[in-house]
Structure formats: C-alpha cells, structure tokens
C-alpha cells in the first residue's frame, strides 16, 4: 500500500518539483555562501551552512528585512579549490546574487576580494558585496583592504594580541615556546607574537620559536615535545589548527609535558573531537574566541537570544561555537534595513561604523578598514561544566571555562588601510 502511495507521490510530485525549482525565491535577498560542501573538509563548510540557514531563518521569522523580504542562503560549493571559487563567483553574477559570504580558507577569501575589486570596477551597476565571516589574514583589512569586503572575525594580529595580553597577565608564565605552521598564516602568527611579546609581556622569556611543515605532514610530534621539555618551557603558544594541533597536543599529553597550551583554534568541533577530554585537560588547552557557552556572561544575554540558542542546540545537536557567523547575518540584516535598499553599495555604506550589543561590550564594524572590533575571551578546557560540548548529538563531556576577557581597547590595532570608496 505504502508503495503505491509512494509511486503516486512520484507522479504528482515531479511537475510540482520542477515548477518549484523555477519559481523559487522570487522576492528574497540572496546571500551566496561559497564554502567547501564536498571533499575532505566538507564538514566545516556544511556546519557553516547550517548556522547561516538557521540564523537567516531566525531573521525571517522575526519579519525579515526591508519590510518583509526574506534572506535566502544560496550554498555554492568550491570544494576547497581556488578555480571553483572563481567559477562560483561567476555563477553569482549570472544569478544576480549581490551578496556573498565565505570564511573557510584565506586563499579563497583573497581570491574573492581580488575578484570583486576587478568585477565591481568593471561593472559598477552589478557590484557584489563580500561578508567575510572567518578568514583571518590581517592584510585583508590593511594594505589589501577593499570597500567591498567586511570582516566579522578578529584578524590574526588581534587574536595574537588577545592571547599575548592574557599571557602577560598570567604570573605562572615564565618560559614560552612557540610552534607554528610554516605558511603564510603561521608565519604571520609568529611575527605578530614576537612583536607583541616584546611590547605587552616583556617579562616572558621566549625559549623556543619553531616552524613546522603544515597540513598534517608531521606525523609524530615527540621530537618537538622533547625540545620543548629540554628548553624548560612552561607555556606553549601555537597557531596550529586541524591535525597539526591535534597531534601536537596529543603527543604533549602522552609525554606528560607540564605546560599550558595557548591556541586559537582548539575549540572547533573536529579539534575537540580529535584531541579528546583527557589530553585537552592534561595540557590545559586554551582558546581565544568571541564567546563560549559556559562563560558567566552567557546567562546575562537577552532572553530571546538564549531561547534561540536553546532551539539551535535542540534542532542541530551541536554546541554554539562561532557567534561571529550569527553576527554576520545580524549585521547584514540590520544594514539592509538601515540602507532601506538591497543595493550593495548602500548596504556597505550603512554597515560602516555600525554597532551591536555583544556579550561583554559593543561589536563595532570599524569604518576605516571594515574590521569588526569586539572583546574576546580566553578559556581553558575543563570538565563538569554546565553545558558540555555537543556535536551531532554526541556529548564530549568537556567544554571551556573562562580565564579572562580581553577588552576591545587591548585588541584594537591601528590599520594601514587606505580605503577607496566608489
């Protein structure tokens, strides 16, 4: 019986689906999301898509933008490949999508910035605006800054500034060892940290400064751990992410290295899963983020927002770990409304200098370079917290507990941007 029903549904549905495809999205504001949705790191892209769709839906439920129009997220797969990113941008132009977002992989971000600079200059009537939610290369808001690019994440220098400020506050930090991935990002981390350590934590002795071949090429970190031990370091500062972080931390824990690990990316789901509770706690693993669920300030946020978070956890079975993506959507919606138009140039102008309330202080989209400025929090992996980390329904039984907030004045860095406005 069910079979017959199914076959009948097929006959009825086919034309409906075909029509639905062609008629979809007549009066929406489209935001193209260019991320890897296939290939080895598709999980990151798909998580991003889920967050974007969820929070865009929240905006739509509240009444949408521009007097009732909905925000529609259009996923565009770049398979983590530069040529695919360009290809998807051409598709964005074809489909008359005027806003794009991206964040996974700063090489793609750079590609989009450069592409839009050329495109928007050649076709001012079809300008496209880029909302960068996670690509952290500092130069995007310095010498490479563009009117058509807005960043909703702290750049590398700001994150390092937050970490180093916290290092300076911690009296137990005497001897520091740095280890970074030897490519553009890791080198930028290294240079920024060297400079800021001298300025902000002159009492700390840098006993080691290492670069490694990036992207999972180092299988065994024990020799590095031995060097760290030999140098007598009590603290490790690293920008590593992915397997380079997971193996590093696991090797340190296995060798009972008695040192705290200051990192940027310890809290992304794949790293928490890969490192595991035991090794993360043994290495006193720390991260710097815009917010986390077990911060004392969490419960002081507006009630509607807490409701939204609860709904998110219930619906997705995942913790909240990247508030910046929600901010991207909220800023986008607010700028559309403020501009009263979906013209990208007007939306961009409206977004400059825009502020919103954050958990520990205002979020400010600096007009001079389109870099968001906000307080950041350093937290350490710990057990028995109120909201343990969940991902796809699995409870990891650990989460992060706050060490301290770094306020905006300590993070805000001068910019060298010379913005050219159309």
């Amino acid at each position: 019986m069910a079979l017959i029903k199914w076959v009948r549904t097929f006959a009825v549905m086919l034309p409906v689906v075909l029509v639905a495809f062609s008629a979809r999205g007549a009066d929406t504001v489209k935001l193209g999301l260019i991320e890897p949705f296939s290939g080895p790191i598709a999980a990151v892209g798909r998580d991003t898509l889920e967050i974007f769709e969820f929070f865009a839906n929240e905006v739509n439920q509240r009444g949408g933008v521009l007097g009732g129009r909905h925000i529609e997220i259009v996923p565009l797969d770049n398979a983590m490949n530069a040529e695919k990113t360009t290809q998807q941008l051409r598709k964005v132009i074809d489909d008359d999508i005027r806003f794009v977002s991206q964040g996974v992989g700063s090489n793609h971000a750079l590609n989009i910035i450069k592409f839009l600079q050329r495109h928007n200059r050649r076709n001012p009537d079809q300008a496209i605006l880029y909302l960068n939610h996670s690509a952290v290369t500092t130069s995007f808001t310095n010498e490479l800054c563009s009117f058509w690019h807005f960043r909703f994440d702290a750049n590398v220098d700001m994150k390092v500034a937050a970490l180093v400020t916290q290092l300076g506050r911690d009296p137990s930090v005497q001897k520091l060892y740095m280890l970074n991935q030897n490519y553009a990002y890791g080198q930028a981390f290294q240079v920024a940290a060297q400079q800021m350590l001298a300025e902000r934590a002159p009492g700390i002795e840098l006993v080691g400064d290492e670069l490694i071949v990036p992207f999972g090429k180092v299988l065994d970190f024990t020799p590095y751990i031995a060097k760290i031990k030999a140098a007598g370091a009590d603290t490790v500062l690293t920008g590593n992410w992915g397997p380079d972080l997971v193996r590093f931390v696991k090797a340190a824990s296995e060798a009972n290295l008695d040192a705290s690990f200051y990192t940027i990316y310890a809290g992304i789901p794949s790293s928490v899963a890969g490192i595991g509770a035991k090794d993360g706690i043994a290495t006193r693993l720390k991260q710097v983020t815009e917010m986390h669920e077990n911060d004392p300030l969490y419960d002081q946020q507006p009630a509607e927002l807490l409701d939204t978070y609860d709904r998110w956890r219930q619906q997705t079975g995942k913790s909240i770990y990247s508030e910046r993506m929600r901010w991207t959507i909220e800023f986008f919606a607010a700028a559309l409304n403020k501009a009263g138009s979906d013209d990208p140039a007007l939306v961009a102008a409206a977004m400059e200098g825009m502020t919103m309330e954050g958990p520990a202080g205002p979020l400010v989209m600096r007009g001079a370079d389109h870099q968001i400025i906000f307080p950041m929090v350093i937290s350490t992996m710990a057990e028995d917290l109120e909201r343990p980390y969940i991902y796809e329904g699995d409870n990891y039984e650990v989460a992060f507990a706050t060490d301290g907030w770094i306020m905006s004045d300590a993070i805000e860095l001068p910019t060298t941007c010379e913005m050219k406005r159309p």
């Binding site: 080895p40 490694i212 071949v213 024990t222 789901p269 899963a273 595991g276 990891y396």
Partner: protein, 315 residues
C-alpha cells in the same frame, strides 16, 4: 652525545611504527608485484574498526578482531576487484588501488562522519614507564615498539623457516614454476593480499590512537609508506626495516640539530639575502623541512640506486 643518542632512540621508536605500516605493503609487493596505493587506507580502516570495537568491548579485543576484519576486506577486494585487473598489467593494478583509496576514504566518511573519532590510548597503558632527559615515555609507546619488533620477528621467521614462507619466496622468484607444482597461485595471492592488509590493520589499531583517527589520515600517511619500501628496496623486509629506521632517525636528527641554509651561507663568508624573492631559501632550517627529507631521500635513492638499499630487482 647524550642528546644524539636520545634523538636516535626517538628515531627508532618512530621508525618502528613506520615499519609496522610498511611491512604489509612490502609483503604484498614481493609476492604479487602490486604497489598497493590503498595500503594506508587499510591502515585507516584498522584504526576505525579498532575504535568501534573498543567502544563496544575493549582495546585487546580490537587488537585481535580489527586486523582480521581488515584482512578479510582486503582479501575480498583482491578476489573480486584486483584479480580481474591483473591481466591488464601492474600499472592498471596500481591505478586500481589508487581508485580504491578514494572509495575507502569516502565510505569511511559516510559511516563515521567527517570529523575525527575519539579513539584513545587504553588507560592501563597511558602512564609513564620511564623518564629520560626529562621526557616521559608512556607504556603505550613501548608497547608499540614491542608489537613492531614482534611482527618483524614473526614475519622473518614465517618467510625463512616455514613451508608457507618457502612457497611465498619461491613464488616471488618464479611464479610459473610454483604454479606448475600444483599451488593455487590466485589463492595464495588473495591471502597474501589479505594478510598484508591485516598487517596494515594492526598498524592502524596501535597507531590510530596516537596519530588521530580521521578520514584524512590515509592521504597523509600514504606517500611516506611508499618512501619507506622504495628506499628499502621493494620486496625486501629487512630493507623496509632499515629504511624505516633511517627515515625515523634522519628526521629526528634534523629536528634536534636545527641547522639552516643561512648559517651555511654565513659560514662561507657570504651575505644573506633578506629581501629578495629567494629570501625564504636562506631562512629554511633542517627542522622546518624535516618531514620533506624522506621525499628527497626517495628521489636521490631512485636516481642513484633504483633498486633501493636491499632490493633485488627494479621498482
């Protein structure tokens, strides 16, 4: 001197893990002439099966059961996949395993998801066994060493002193004559392939919790395993052991004695170029490029001694 011995010792530890990984591959090659590109994928399967089994039962059960399952999977792939391809030659076989590596990686993602699974070292072996130069060696690390050595000894004994080993060695040098003696060569091939994959599975069980069990681990490990068996000389078990130890020790030494191109230039009394296009060359140190050194060794080896250290025939 002490730090030199220390580096050597670390190199041996790492080298033995590499050997464990490579032993199955070199066995398969010596028997069948097939370079199994998917070998690291079987290693990955071993780690994932071990994770799944140790969730349900415990690590020791995983150590026995997971390699058996991996071996059966391998034998199945040989029987229904590789055997039909055999008649198209070795390049087709290599390509077949290359494709299988892709498929296994995707299937693993489909079943276990795209994020790492929490496969941990068993608690009883997590503690430190001894401390040297302030560095704690866990029981598990020594356990890995013991497993690797045991596998080497067992394989060596198997090939040298048993009837099966005799047949295998005979089949390597002259498969046609062995077949005419009434041995079922395709069957021997199937079980050799399965056994080689099971060895990769053992490596996965004991290495997966140290290296991290995730879908990309096969891609990251695959090439280095090739380097080991090519440098050692294809088909030579002893060569694989020596090459694995060599790679382990060289990369360790490169990290401990961190010399750079820059210091060489200074020693020659030249000036360092700090601004030009080539400035990064002068900044490179041996520690930074340590993981790439095996590939350099591979290329040099193949250029100057294409049979590898102990190989008896060309690659």
């Amino acid at each position: 001197m002490e730090s030199f011995i220390f580096a050597m010792f670390n190199g041996v530890l790492y080298g033995m893990l590499l050997f464990l990984l490579a032993s199955g591959l070199t066995l398969i090659f010596s028997m069948m002439g097939v370079l199994n590109f998917a070998h690291a994928s079987f290693f990955m399967l071993g780690a994932y099966f071990a994770y799944q089994i140790s969730e349900g039962l415990n690590f020791w059960a995983a150590l026995i059961v997971a390699p058996v399952i991996v071996g059966l999977v391998g034998a199945g792939i040989e029987r229904w996949g590789l055997r039909p391809v055999h008649r198209y030659g070795h390049v087709a076989e290599l390509l077949f395993t290359f494709g299988v590596a892709y498929v296994i990686e995707e299937l693993v993602q489909m079943i276990w998801g795209r994020v790492p699974v929490p496969y941990e070292i068993p608690d009883v072996m997590a503690g430190a066994l001894f401390t040297w130069q302030g560095f704690d060696y866990s029981i598990y690390r020594v356990f890995m060493l013991v497993v690797s050595v045991a596998i080497f000894v067992a394989l060596f004994a198997l090939l040298t002193y048993t009837r099966i080993g005799l047949i295998i060695r005979a089949a390597v040098s002259d498969p046609i004559h062995v077949a005419t003696l009434g041995h079922d060569i395709p069957r021997i091939f199937m079980w050799t392939f399965g056994f080689g994959c099971a060895l990769a599975g053992v490596a996965g069980v004991v290495g997966g919790n140290v290296l991290g069990t995730e879908p990309a681990m096969a891609i990251q490990l695959g090439p280095i395993v090739f380097v080991v068996i090519v440098i050692g000389g294809l088909g030579s078990l002893g060569g694989a052991l020596v090459a694995a130890l060599l790679i382990g020790i060289v990369t360790r030494l490169a990290i401990f004695y961190d010399y750079g191109v820059g210091s060489l230039i200074l020693a020659l009394g030249l000036e360092i170029d700090t601004a030009g296009m080539l400035r990064d060359f002068t900044r490179i140190t041996t520690a930074q490029v340590a993981p790439v050194l095996p590939y350099l060794m591979l290329v040099l080896m193949l250029i100057f001694k294409p049979r590898g250290l102990f190989g008896t025939r060309d690659v």
